[in-house]
């Protein structure tokens, strides 16, 4: 370990023993990673988060004693540099978006082969975040500063045509629009004349804005309901 590049410290929260085992095996098989801790319940995970810092935290949302969202939020607050990754079967909008709002920066599909899993963890650690076209469309509808698509349910939920709490730059919007058209990061980077890394940075920033936006919305909602002072 000494002399070589620092190992990626990974932690795991997963209650399904098979998935747990397969993930742990994938991490163990990767030479540049080390599994710092692995828990199966929300309570144990929250305790572990307080105790040990990690580089990448893998969290399943459906834990026996509660939602993994709490683990994500706590870890993100406690270790802002930690990359939280939600593990999901389908990578569907509902699960992913609420995880990102809680502070997650990526997601891992549970059916991915072991090699892909390690690659995903590596990519996240390096600053890359995956984004599906459907999620890109949803974020566009929510954070677009000019005209949010009024038919998109997410836009309706956040107040329709009202100006979003946080808005995106034209470049960020452009990136998201290309993602909804099916282009990959490499293709987008080529089109925009930037590096793949820059595109990844855009996506990271967009995720951060989604998180901030959801917090501001929560505060505004609380203020409207009189839970907070002006």
């Amino acid at each position: 370990m000494t002399g070589g590049p620092a190992l990626i410290r990974v932690a795991l929260v997963e209650d399904d023993p098979r998935v747990h085992a397969s993930l742990a095996a994938a991490i163990a098989a990767a030479p540049d990673m080390t599994l710092v801790w692995a828990e199966t319940t929300r309570a144990a995970a929250l305790a572990a988060v307080e105790r040990l810092a990690v580089d990448v935290l893998l969290v399943d949302l459906g834990l026996p004693d509660g939602s993994g969202i709490d683990v994500i939020r706590t870890a993100h607050q406690r270790w802002p540099a930690c990359n939280v990754m939600v593990s999901t079967i389908f990578g569907d909008e509902m699960h992913v978006v609420q995880s990102i709002e809680a502070g997650a920066r990526g997601y891992l599909l549970k059916d991915s082969p072991a090699s892909t899993m390690a690659e995903e963890i590596r990519r996240l650690h390096a600053g890359g975040s995956p984004i599906s076209p459907l999620i890109a469309r949803l974020i566009l509808a929510r954070l677009r500063s000019d005209a949010p698509a009024p038919d998109v349910p997410a836009a309706r939920e956040t107040g329709g045509a009202a100006k979003p709490a946080v808005s995106m730059s034209p470049r960020e919007t452009e990136v998201l629009e290309l993602i909804t058209k099916g282009f990959t990061y490499e293709e987008i980077a080529r089109r925009l004349g930037v590096t793949r890394h820059t595109v990844q940075t855009f996506v990271r920033r967009i995720y951060a804005k989604l998180e901030v936006g959801s917090k501001i919305e929560a505060i505004n909602a609380a203020r409207e309901q009189g839970l907070l002072g002006p």
Partner: protein
Amino acid sequence: MPPASRACSGPDRARRGLALRWAVALAVLFVWLGLAAPLRAAEMAVQHIVRASMLEVPGGDVHARPPRHADAAALPGTWQDVDLPHQARRDWGAGDQPYVTRWFRLTLDDVATPQERVLYLPRWQTIGVVTVYADGELRFQSRGGVVWNSFNMPLWVTLNPTAGEPPTREVLIRVVSQTGAGAGVSSAWVGPREELVGRLRVREALQSQIPFMASAAFLAIGLFALAVWARHRDDTAYLLFFVASVLFFVRCLHYHTGQRTPLIPEAWFGWITVNSLGWLLLCVYFFAFRLHERRLPWLERGALAVMALSTVLTLPGWASWGRADVITSAAYGVQFVVMLVVTLAALWMSWRSGSRLAIAVSAWNVLNIPVGLHDWMLQHLLISVEGIYLLPYTGIGLFFLFMLVVFQRYTGALAEARGARAVLAQRLQTREAELAQSYARLQAIAREQMVGQERQRLMQDMHDGLGSSLMSALHAVELGQLDEQGVAQVLRECIDDLKLAIDSLEPVQTDLLLLLATLRFRLEPRLQGSGLALEWAVEDVPPLPWLEPRSALHVLRIFQEVFTNVIKHARASRVRVSTMHDAHHVIVRVEDNGAGFEPDAAVLAAVAPGSAPRGKGLGNLLRRAAALRGHACWTRLPDGGTRFELRLPREAPLTVAD
């Protein structure tokens, strides 16, 4: 009439009682004024003259100006003593001379004081002129017309107007009349101005001012009724009220024209005055008939005909057939007969109808018979000339009844309108509630239907896709035909199927590119795993309004099948996806550089039109395309490889089959 009779409730009766009490109070006040004035006058130097000497001389001229002086002693003929009031009867036979002059000599008490004294003569009446001399000096000359003179105005003459004049001892009243027209002079009063002015006031009020004021007031209300009728033409009661008010006003004019000559020729004034009474009475009867639904058409028509005939025959142009007074009398006679018949008929009808207001109006009309008779006798000098014309007062009473009816009708209509509004509002509310209920019901049905359809769609997809894949894998494993790798492969495909099914549930909002992007995102790991290089050459396409979950899943499954075929069978190294559109279609192309592929004719033939697309395979692909009203085809490319093309309509397909 329903609104009027319905409105006859307790409070209305109370109001009518109040009006009655007021009327009684007013009557008492007038009687008191009439009685109290003479009582006060008696104790002062007031002389009531009830006897006079009279001299009747044929000749004279109603149009000639009177002499300045008159000397009773110098007049030829014999004076005779008469009682005042004196009535020289009408005489229908014509005399030798067109006019006759009558002199009345009144001897006054000797009064010591040089106070100003006035002669007050409550009434006189004739067709002609009256002149008054005090101790031989002219003091008064009646003006106005010959027929429509100031007959109904009290005569009020200052006897010694200038300073230092001795009290008058003798008053001479000269009455020049049409021969046969008769003449009447009431008793006279002589005394200080202040002592007699009260009597004058009461007389003036009763004879002319009250009829004048009442007729003017009713005319104003009549105009209001006219305005109401203008908006509600079918309610003729308002129009009748207006016409009656005009006729009453016109009819009352001759009671107070006084010293002024009428504005229109006398003959026309007389014609209007005489006929307005008859028409007024007809109006009243028609009004009474409208208070109940019973009508006597023949009576109405008959009365109208008689009145019209009388009106035409008394026209000034025609009237040369007789003397003015005779014509007037004849007209009044005809009107009286009409009134008698119609009054009794109206009373009988009202009685039968049971409408209380109609009975009240009709009963009041009966009063017109004795009152009309009285006025006719007064006009013909058959009774004391000192009497007062009473028809204006029965008219006033009638107008109060009229107003009561019209008022009830008006307030009734208002209440009805308010009630109608309330009913309408309530009905509207009920209707709204019903609509809301049926809307909610429809919505619930629609929601149930949608949920049902969605369930059916997912069931179908799971049954044909996921279910059958798992089932065949299970059988293969049980038969030992499938190794571990194969099982993993089947399971992976199942999960891919599931992911696409889930993706199809996400709202893509008419965006075909987003749908294709989602598919690429899902298939990317498999494409990369198979070493295929994907060229994504899509361009923006117009929104497809029909792209909802069911059709989205068809599109996803079509391209899933296409890509699966390319990966499994084409042995290609590159695959290119592109989109384009024309006026009617959106086109998606998937081109590979593989071995070339064309589906069997058998497969294409097996796709019977209308059969439900399900499961996998090319047949299903074609059925799905057909369900979208689209068209799928494969083309062998010249330099090897295959082009798959799906054309989709831009406009909504009629329905998207499962």
